[in-house]
Symmetry: C2
Subunit: 478 residues, 2 copies
């Protein structure tokens, strides 16, 4: 087999890019920092999208579409927001053959323009809550792009909601974090930790940012999704006001929350190995590939017909188009096996002449390589069970890896020493934004979050010595 | 009832905008010429999208995503293409705080950047056909925007395919026209005529453009979707070459085809009346609304519970979230009825105390106003049948209207006279692009298409007197 993937141990970044290349997930676009999401990568995105979209609708949200271009003046209306995003914006200065009076920015996120529309739509308490989501492209100019993780353009969803009370908006922020975490754990098999961001890592304009942090296979952290409690900052900047039941004018309380194509980067880094991509079955476009094998053309046609028959039966259980038949008979069997292995197909069913004689196939798991002979008749029952087991074991393996690479320390010296070695490092921390900056300079690591599951633990801050500090996770990150 | 819609007979344009407003389909964005697609309008788009997407996948196409920004130099590579699109482009000149070396245009369509990627991906005849589709936003600066019909930004899909032979590419172009026409007729209930465009109306860079033309209720034509045979123009401009089975280098043959949110404009104009929106049931997000009615609070709660029970039973047949219960009991019943009528809900089921005593509801069709008492037990069977009948009768009504407003003439004088009165006018035509321009100046009408169903009819051109001319449809259009 040609070695077309750099080993992880040799060059992790190159390994990641090689996986994307051999699995045909994405490609660099001719526009610097932008990517082309190839059909296989996009099919993964469509499946992920469908799962989130369903969950949003089940929690009462509706989709809408807002303009790509935002007047520059809008960005200025929220002080922290413009400071955070203006330097990354792409700017349209000409259109329709003329110079524009006011330049537009290509949306880096849509709080501002959606805030302006909400102020038109919200009049009375009866109009609230307003629960809206948008699937779209956004643009943030990247100096050091990396496919899926950081590209100048990416696809995402941004939820934007307005509520009558602070409590309701905070509850929404946390509810959507939970929706995110559930799908990321159950479907993407990511070892997510839910937490709240430190002041230095908050979304520009938010009072609180909640995050789904995950650990990838080089032990760095990756922020897979965030949910922001925006307080009344955007409501005041864009005059989202309503008349309450007593007839008084009130400012609304808003939230926003988003996940993007960057999740695909997290999936690739978490599960794949030196042979190629590994995809959790629930988000794999092709869950099973059947490979008929025969050197004899007539026999191959026969095997192939049988393979299609089995594929149809499996599709009825696993969903349309989720089982493929490999008919690349101009290639050697081993090359055909490796082709699908590299592309991350969770389960391969080999159908040779001997297998056929036994009314069986030889199944090979992508994650463990485990082989098993399965009778044709038992496929519709056994294959879903094997796929469920792959899904479960990928998640468990990722969680075990995260736990094995998470440390707890009680001094700043120990924090620095462990961060230099890698992994996530927990410690009590109550430093300021300024302290966070200094620690980042010294360690290249940041506070990833204060994990919600451990919010009751308090102790002495390793940096300031303050008592009553909460437990934080520090790590280098993508 | 407050008259919040301008009658069609008084001001057609204003009627159209009023419908969009009362049905909460879309809103003007703070960016000139751009629109916000509101949740109800977007839900219609999602249903339409799902139908097309399914049909694309069933015909072997896969989705992908290409960059929003296109280097200006790309547009220059195909001579007709740049002439057609450059004047409408929005241009990004600055990004990441710096002036760009080469400006980017926001994609008006993606033949160029997709062509560049295809040239990387296509090497051998084994890589063909390449059948790719993209769902995305595009931008064409509009001087006279109109919601859904012409906005500076709109949502669409663009199919792009590459083939080994001319025949295959031409067959693909026609196949996708057929896919479009079927969905537009069966689901959108539009009275589509399939045809081929005249030279003057072709896509810039295409050898042939096929179109789905529809007639809206002021008898003007609206182009609802197009499919282009691009020959080898883009393959040569972007070097999409492959090695054929004999080892020779060949240029590929390409196609592109697209439908957009403008179809929603066609639906609104075709079916709605002076009371508000009318939506064909198959693309209505809310297919049925149940309105429980009682002045007594306890009784209302009882009715409401019953309504939810009936809604759940109907959702099991019609699809999740497709049946709503109206609980706006602070409004008068008549106002609640009118609320849903204006929003185009195909069927209303009223549940008053008398109806409840009879274990029945009173059903009211949006299209005809026809009322019928239906027993609760028969709803899961009768409601889908009524919705099917509404769907069918909307399509038949639209076709009958189109036919009643289509004329055939045999002289240029008669053509001009009829065009001044309105409608579609058929005649034999074999004029040049120059002739088409002159006719447009004199009549404000254009050749909408040469209808495929009548391609065998030939006669004397009404403008040039040439023999062997084909039958063309002239009309004013959106």
């Amino acid at each position: 087999m040609a070695r077309n993937i750099t080993p992880r141990s040799q060059d992790y970044s190159q390994w990641y890019l090689d996986i994307i290349k051999v699995a045909e997930l994405a490609d660099y676009a001719p526009v610097r920092g932008c990517m082309v999401i190839r059909p296989t990568g996009y099919a993964v995105w469509e499946i992920i999208q469908a799962k989130f979209d369903k969950a949003f609708k089940e929690t009462g949200h509706v989709n809408a579409y807002f303009p790509l271009l935002i007047p520059s003046s809008y960005l200025q209306k929220e002080a922290e927001h413009v400071e955070g995003f203006a330097p990354e914006c792409a700017v349209v200065t000409h259109a329709g053959g003329e110079k524009l009076e006011e330049p537009f920015v290509v949306r880096p996120t849509s709080e501002t323009v959606i805030g302006a529309m909400f102020s038109k739509w919200v009049q009375s308490w009866r109009d609230l809550p307003l629960l809206i989501n948008q699937w779209c492209n956004v643009m943030r100019w990247e100096k050091r792009p990396r496919l899926f993780l950081r590209t100048s353009e990416f696809l995402w969803q941004e939820g934007h909601t307005a509520h009558a009370t602070r409590d309701e908006a905070e509850a929404e922020t946390k509810k959507m974090l939970g929706v995110y975490a559930k799908i990321m754990k159950e479907d993407l098999a990511l070892p997510i930790v839910e937490g709240v961001k430190s002041a230095g890592e908050r979304f520009p304009g938010a009072l609180d940012t909640y995050t789904c942090e995950t650990m990838v296979s080089d032990t760095k952290a990756l922020q897979a999704g965030t949910s922001h409690f925006l307080g009344q900052n955007f409501a005041k900047a864009f005059e989202i006001q309503f008349q309450d039941a007593n007839g008084d004018q009130q400012f609304a309380w808003t939230t926003s929350w988003g996940v993007s194509t960057r999740m695909i980067g997290a999936v690739i880094m978490t599960h794949s190995d030196d042979d190629g991509l590994i995809l959790p079955p629930r988000i794999a476009p092709t869950k099973v590939v059947i490979v008929p094998i025969s050197k004899d053309d007539a026999k191959f046609a026969e095997m192939s017909a049988k393979a299609h028959e089995l594929a149809d039966k499996l599709c009825a259980v696993l969903g349309p188009l989720s089982v493929k038949v490999d008919e690349q008979n101009h290639m050697r069997p081993a090359d055909r096996f490796f082709y699908h292995l590299q592309k991350g197909v969770p389960l391969r069913l080999e159908l040779g002449e001997k297998d056929a004689a036994n009314e069986a196939v030889r199944s090979v798991r992508r994650d463990t390589g485990a082989k098993e002979d399965l009778k044709w008749a038992e496929l519709p029952e056994r294959v879903p069970a094997i796929l469920d087991d792959i899904q479960k074991s990928l998640y468990e393996k990722a969680c075990a890896f995260r736990d094995a690479n998470t440390y707890e320390v009680d001094s700043y010296e120990a924090l620095k020493a462990q961060l230099a070695k890698g992994g996530w490092v927990k410690c009590f921390f109550a430093g300021s934004v300024e302290d966070e900056k200094k620690i980042k300079e010294e360690t290249q690591a940041t506070v990833r979050c204060y994990p919600l599951a451990e919010k009751d633990r308090v102790g002495t801050c390793v940096y300031t010595g303050k008592e009553g500090a909460h437990l934080a996770i520090f790590s280098k990150s993508y």
